[in-house]
């Protein structure tokens, strides 16, 4: 592990510290870290979850190539984990930042994992034997996780943490199965959060996005209809490592849905009630979902309700055309209501091209919910002393010409924390942020 190695702190004669901190270990943070590391500078990568990979690790395939997301991402996470100049601080959060470019003092909270990661070999026995199961956040609450867990079998670092909210020892003071079974005695229920201090010269903020919760949509059942799910949930259903092993089975009764409705712009481009902006990825991933579904359920029927199709990336419009040719029904219009009627969901929409009302009796409904910032992003902006906009996305220094810089010299943005982006744009943004860091270091 990178954490094991002693890293020389690079600093020039004038005391300018040439070492970067990247906050967020998704594809943006990973990309920026590898770039900066490969340029010869040290990197601290701080991730609040137990392992890196971010949302991309939850995806099944990616548009427009239909590559397996894990197959493209795992080499990157492994490279990050083994990189001689990248030190991982996972399960950690930035608490305080002071100073300026070239000399930031950073306080990081390393959350108690209740597992001694120095001793842990990542054998996974504890996870196999842990008796406490609860809905896994990684699987969008559709599958069960354990109280001692890693996010995925390919987790980097491959070290588990205990969730005390679900652990029987923390709840009832009994069990201790993991402690008994661990061959190296790594379990430590007395572990506490630790605060550590670091010095860095530049910071890349890459904390990513969240999805607007399905519970926000009263007209679609306030999240109480189990077969009305969001796009990330569909990714998990379609993922070979997901709760259904990649078979498209609906959450309520595990049956294979034959009539599937996708609703784009759920919460996006709706200034009156939700978010006025376009989330930029939904047109493409909905088309992808539709195709992946049809590849698995040949006799299934897909309906996509859309407002406009926005497919401006390279190869994107061709992907949409191909999708339409695969027998997927695109209906231009909004859906006003979804309710349950027996085992089906009644979906009321309109097709504005024919001017007709449409009623679909659906087995599964997938909402392409809006990309929104994490709630904590505003707090992070305050800690860093940088601006966020009215939605909570972090603000770049200039809309067109300074897309990765912030109002603070030495602090840069990468990925969806600045606004909705697809993977290709996120990687380009992260490359840009990393090159800004390199330029800053090179000139001091």
């Amino acid at each position: 592990m990178g954490g094991e190695q002693k890293i020389e702190m690079g600093a020039s004669e004038n005391g300018f510290i040439k070492r970067a901190m990247v906050i967020g270990g998704g594809i943006a943070g990973i990309t920026a870290s590898i770039d900066i590391g490969n340029a010869g500078y040290e990197v601290l990568l701080v991730e609040r979850l137990p392992s890196i990979g971010g949302h991309m690790l939850q995806l099944s395939e990616t548009f427009p190539t239909l590559d397996c997301a894990q197959c493209t991402l795992t080499p990157k996470t492994v490279e990050t984990g083994q990189h001689p100049r990248i030190r991982l601080h996972t399960y950690s959060e930035v608490v305080r930042v002071a100073g300026r470019a070239g000399n930031f003092s950073v306080q990081i909270r390393k959350k108690a994992a209740y597992v001694d990661w120095e001793k842990c070999t990542g054998c996974g026995l504890c996870q196999q034997k842990c008796p406490s199961k609860y809905p896994s956040e990684f699987d969008r609450r559709m599958g069960l996780g354990k109280a001692i867990y890693t996010l995925s079998p390919q987790a980097v670092p491959n070290k588990p943490v205990i969730n005390p909210d679900h652990c029987r020892y923390f709840l009832e003071k009994k069990c201790r199965v993991c402690e008994k079974i661990c061959p190296v005695g790594a379990i430590n229920y007395q572990q506490e959060d630790r605060l550590i201090e670091e010095k860095v010269g530049a910071i890349v903020v890459a904390t990513g996005f969240d999805l607007m919760p399905v519970e926000r949509f009263g007209e679609y059942g306030y999240g109480e209809i189990p077969d009305v799910i969001d796009g990330l949930s569909f990714e998990r259903l379609n993922s070979a490592s997901g709760p259904t092993n990649g078979e498209i089975r609906r959450p309520s009764d595990g049956r294979i849905p034959k009539e599937v409705v996708f609703i784009q712009c759920s919460g996006s481009r709706d200034p009156e009630r939700y978010m006025p902006y376009c989330s930029r990825v939904c047109c493409m991933y909905t088309a992808k979902h539709a195709r992946l579904y049809k590849h698995k359920v040949h006799d299934g029927q897909v309906y996509i309700f859309y407002m406009d199709i926005r497919s401006t990336g390279k190869g994107y419009e061709e992907f949409i055309q191909q999708t339409m040719e695969e027998g997927i029904l695109y209906l231009r219009g909004r859906v006003s209501r979804i309710f349950r009627e027996g085992e089906k969901m009644v979906v009321w929409g309109v097709d504005t091209l024919t001017g007709k009302k449409v009623e679909v009796l659906a087995d599964l409904v997938v909402l392409a919910t809006a990309i929104v910032p994490h709630q904590e992003t505003k707090t992070l902006a305050q800690i860093l002393g940088i601006h966020s906009d009215s939605y909570g996305f972090l603000t770049e220094a200039e809309r067109k010409l300074k897309p990765v810089e912030t109002n603070q010299e030495g602090i840069y943005l990468a990925g969806c924390v600045q606004g909705p982006k697809d993977i290709a744009d996120t990687v380009a943004h992260a490359n840009a942020a990393a090159s800004k860091v390199q330029a800053l270091f090179a000139t001091h």
Partner: protein, 289 residues
Amino acid sequence: MNYLYFPGCTLYTKAKNFDQTARNCSLLLGFELVELPNWTCCGATFPLATDNLMALLPPARILARAKEQGEVLTTLCAICFNVIKRTNHLLQKDGEKREKINQFIEMNYQGDLKVLHYLEILKQEIGFPTLQEKVKKPLNELQAAPYYGCMLLRPFEEMGFDDKERPTLFEEFLSALGARPIDFPYKIECCGSFQSVGTPEVATECAYRILTSAMRQGAEVVVSTCPLCTFNLDQKQSDILKDHLDFKTIPVLYFTQLLGVAMGLDPQTLGFEQNAVDPIPLLKRKGLV
């Protein structure tokens, strides 16, 4: 306690039973509905065009006159309530229109009257726990489907009545009476409204879907807050029967009629003769009359 009361045209004619039961029940609950003197038609629809101020004059005049008499105005008919409440909201928020309208009607009303539906009076002023205590004849788990329609709930920003997608106030009311409220997806859907005049087949189909949805969930009676909804749901059942041979009729009552049953009012005074589908066999079966 007295509340200023705007009955509206329909409650003087086709929906006399709605009006009478509400007045009688209020006396038993310790308040009186004092009819607003010199009331006129509410205007019947809130204008869709933002510059159609003429249509706002009747409700504005009603509000201005009511303000001279008291602080709270209550109504029963969901459409009157919608028009008056939305006009009140507009007069509160839009100073320019308020001034124009005031000049025209030669009054000075500032939009500061409280407009409450009779159900809101029961919830906010009387309280459902108190109502439950005053019930003389609990409704014996009568499976009642509360039909809100759209006028009470939308637009939410102006009406503020209850959650527009999943309201519960009506259910709370029915539970207080000892009935079992039936949840059904069509409870907030349109009854067909004025389509029953121009394209009656549309309204009939709406009524068919609403009523059958309620019955699928086990409803024995549908409960309404609106004379037009009641017309479409109750009177139109004979037309539904012509189109849908498998349709079974179901009584549709005003909520105040059920309130009257629960308060132990003489069934003779509940105006059941104005209901197209006779509710008496059901109420007898439940031991309520």
